[in-house]
Amino acid sequence: MKVVYDWLKEFVDVPVSAEELASRLALTGTNIGGVENGPHGAVIDAEVTSNRPDCLGHLGIAREVSAIYKTALKKLPSTTGKLEPAVGGDALQKVRVDIQAPELCGRFTARVIRGVKIQPSPQWLKERLEACGVASINNVVDVSNYVMLELGHPLHSFDYDKIRDQRIVVRRASAQEKTRTLDGVERVLDAGTAVVCDGDGSRVVGIGGIMGGADTEISFATKNVLIECAWFDPIAIRRAARALRLHTEASTRFGRGADPEMAGAASRRSAELILQVAGGELQNGAVDEYPGKQAARKIRVTRTEFLRVMGADVSDKELEATLGALGFAPVRIDDHRGAAGSLLAAWECAQPSWRADVEREIDLIEEIARIHGLDKFPPRLPAARAGAVRLPHFEAEARLRERLIGLGYREILTIPHVAEERDELFRPSGVAPARLANPLSEEAGVLRSTGTVSMAASLEWNLNHSQRNARLFEIGRQYRLVGEESVETRVLSIGATGEAREQGLYDGARDFTFADLKGDLDAIGMLAGGFRWEAKASDGGNHAEPEWLNPAKRGHIFLGKEDLGVAGQLSRRVADKLKLRQEVFLAELALGPFYCAYYGTKNARRYEPLPRFPAVERDFSLLLPEGVHFSAVAEAIRALAIREIAAVEAGDLFRGRNVPAGKYSLLARVKFQSHEGTLTDAQIGEFSAKIVAALTTQLGAQLRASV
């Protein structure tokens, strides 16, 4: 809403410059876009909030000024006596109005002026409209716009002679009913829309409160004018405007709630101005159908409530002056009327017709407070009443994040909107994605059903921007639909590509491998009691074999029986689709069970006394048939149930050269430790013999050497 400073002054004395006024308005609730000094003087760009349709006219802003500076509003001079009576008079013979949908149209007034001369508007009128950014059309139409900008109430003028039977019918549109609006567009209506019709009510001559029709438009041939000044239900208008995708100055004002009482005044003002700029003769009086008339609501405000909400006081005098200037006509009604500042003071106010937004005591409190100045209320800190609690998984997540960062991973945050075809690459079969009904684009058409799809995209971004080495993690959510319910699951996604170690002064470069990924994940797993790796998913688990991972380099991660997720190297097929030209490693874990296990492990952890005797290590260099895994070796050794065996580790792995085909060489390192005494060579020898025997007989291992 553009507020012309000089125009404003026609309604109220403004004791300050436009700039100063603008900053005061900003601090009392009218947001200010800026102040421009142009050919029409200062124009303030007021960004009026949607609850204040009354400020979409100069009069409303003037009322704010009046409350801020406590200066009285001025009355507009009336120039003709023919406006009376307010209802009835000759106008009744000239037009009949029938409101058939009073729930959509609460008031409809009509006046008729005969013998106007349609011509371009005089300069002053053009200039005012121009200052407000409204195009000048002709004198009669311009008056409608002028009055709307002045009083905030939309009007419409018809060519009276084109209205059939001198009869107006306001009714609900029928579904699929068509009409052409004055912008020349044919509109298809629905049953929630109010339409203004003529004659028998079959022809639509305007979409009520939104836009007039083309058939009855004012033209330069128009002689007689019918002025419509009505009131339409805000919800119906908003709904209709959205359905029609037709947002006009009128629909904005009616949609936010125009002042039904203003319809009469705006009609008079409009008639007056038409007579002034277009001549003609006004038919006495007006038609005024007003089924929606309501008595003013009474609202009480008390000092106790003001203090309860605001925490600091405003004087009686200021409170009354503010509410008075805003039109609430406050009257002290408590029994302590003589006592200024009484804690028991109460006022009864009348809700003005232009303030549909003020219905409750709290609304009045806001009015008093905002005009008083919100910065005048002294700040203080409320007392804490209970201990502050972090999210239940706060500690587990912090430890996880800290560990990942220590391992060299950088945290990322992504937008979960992804392309359906991307999501499909990583989505387990049988999972229903959360698709958007109204996406901005196909690239962002579905919420990711896995974290890995975003992780792959982030690696892709880096590779495409010449950042070849990246280790990333995201603690985020995956989104899925189960039936009509949405399910959001916390997941950790990990992605790595390029070098695990870059070429430096002291060490050579080394590529990131599956072993790096596994080691890093196991370092995380330690927080929750240790991960178990399996080649296959558990039956009925929610992680089917992930086809997006290279089958030779992937694994399922378990915590106890819980299937947490998968890790591995991105398959060639998917890498090619994403045009990733180097090896990429990805992992995704469900965090809920991980966090649970974190706390469980932490609480169960107990001190283990340090051994008092030295440990002894023995290496067993084994030739094993391919397919016999390290886990089998460790298992066979552990199955011997030798108490002194403290650890079994893989020391070295070798294939080729001296190793015959179909076999591989593995160095198993066994650590012996006794809590009772130092182990003797004889004891170690005995243990070793048992181990060798078990490995040879059970696994077909050949001993190359033991040290």
């Binding site: 909030t49 204040r52 209320f377 203080r380 209970a386 999210l391 945050l413 993690f473 989104y479 639909l481």
Partner: protein, 377 residues
């Protein structure tokens, strides 16, 4: 040593010395000789030779003096020779030890000069990760509010219109819904309720109050979504922290005090605050909250003299919307609006991070370029 070689190889009697008086010059000469030759011991090798020449058990100067002067001396002279010899020995031993220490130190410092590390070279670089900047800001803000008694809660990002709008006093067709362009999910036909991506973290206000009775002090960090076309200042996903305090004695003054405390902790004590009346359906009174521009100190003029780019010359930066909880909201959660009052706010994290760290494109937060991530370790 040549100068004394002759005298120490002879007995005292041969030298014609029979009393202490004649002895003194002899010892003085030996000592002078020692002092003069000490400098010869300049490194470890020459020091060893020098030490052996003087202290050697068989042929050292002191051994010779013992053999030639002391042992054959008459009993009365022996005492005097013994005393003089001990004094000489003390001197020689002390000086030779002194010399050793000096030589070792010297060797060390020259070795140090040769082997010293070049401090301008890097150490072994181990890869180290980083927290995302938005996460860092989240954490900082959470810590501030936790320190004044606010607990942290979360809620779903996929919401029903009830929690996102209705229960927040935004009925259908409310004009405010037009300002929050909303993503909806595609659901199977006949679904009971539409689902949407929450447009703010405020639904968690309702979810929290449904679960607990006052006193309530919570903050809600999370992702929110608005269907805006992305550009440098808009992203259709961004981050918010919601705050809610409801109690029997919360007033507007508690609200402004809490916000001021937060801002001073976050931006620094010199920042000024300003509350402007505004409108949100779920708060009343509603405010927009401004801080004096931390970059130009509120003057509107940049250090270079031009208009401050951060506040565009206004001296103030609009930070977020907030207000006292509208009593209508309490109706949705069965709180007695006559007995409780409270405040709520919603802080845009991305914008705050952009302001604080001078980031001019919100998209960098979501591209995750490692060159960006590296800048905020």
């Amino acid at each position: 040593m040549k100068s004394i070689e002759t005298s120490i190889s002879k007995k005292l009697s041969e030298l014609g010395v029979a009393d202490a008086e004649g002895l003194a010059p002899l010892f003085a000469e030996v000592r002078a000789c020692f002092d003069a030759e000490l400098a010869v011991a300049s490194d470890e090798g020459s020091w060893k030779l020098f030490r052996d020449a003087w202290l050697g058990r068989k042929a050292g100067v002191l051994a010779l003096i013992t053999d030639n002067w002391l042992k054959p001396a008459s009993p009365e002279l022996k005492r005097v020779v013994g005393a003089a010899l001990n004094e000489l020995r003390g001197h020689v031993e002390a000086k030779i030890e002194e010399r050793r220490v000096a030589i070792e130190l010297g060797a060390e410092s020259s070795a140090a000069a040769r082997d010293a590390v070049d401090l301008s070279l890097p150490g072994v670089v181990r890869p180290i990760g980083s927290r995302h900047l938005v996460r860092q800001v989240f954490q900082e803000i959470e810590d501030i509010f936790v320190s004044i008694g606010f607990s942290v809660v979360e809620g779903p990002e996929i919401e029903t219109p009830y929690y996102n709008f209705e229960a927040l006093n935004i009925p259908e067709h409310h004009p405010v819904r037009d300002d929050m362009d909303t993503f909806y999910l595609e659901l199977p036909k006949g679904a009971a309720s539409p689902l949407l991506l929450r447009t703010h973290t405020s639904p968690v206000q309702i979810r929290t109050m449904e679960k607990m009775q006052p006193p309530v002090r919570v903050i809600v960090p999370g992702k929110v979504y608005r269907r805006d076309n992305p550009d440098a200042t808009h992203s259709f996903a961004f981050h918010q922290i919601e705050g809610l305090a409801v109690d029997t004695d919360i007033t507007f003054c508690d609200f402004t005090g809490t916000i001021e405390y937060f801002v001073r902790q976050f931006f620094g004590a010199s920042v000024k605050t300003r509350f402007r009346p505004s409108y949100f359906p779920f708060t009343e009174p509603s405010v927009e909250f401004d801080v004096s521009c931390p970059f130009c100190g509120g003057s509107g003029t940049a250090a270079s003299g031009g208009v401050c780019g951060k506040c565009k010359g206004a001296g103030w930066i609009e930070l977020f919307g907030a207000g006292m909880v509208d009593p209508a909201v309490y109706g949705f959660v069965n709180y007695d609006a006559k007995k409780v009052s409270g405040f709520a706010f919603g802080i845009g994290i991305d914008r705050l991070a952009m302001l604080k760290y001078g980031i001019d494109d919100i998209q960098v937060f979501f591209q995750n370029d490692v060159r960006f991530l590296r800048q905020f370790p």
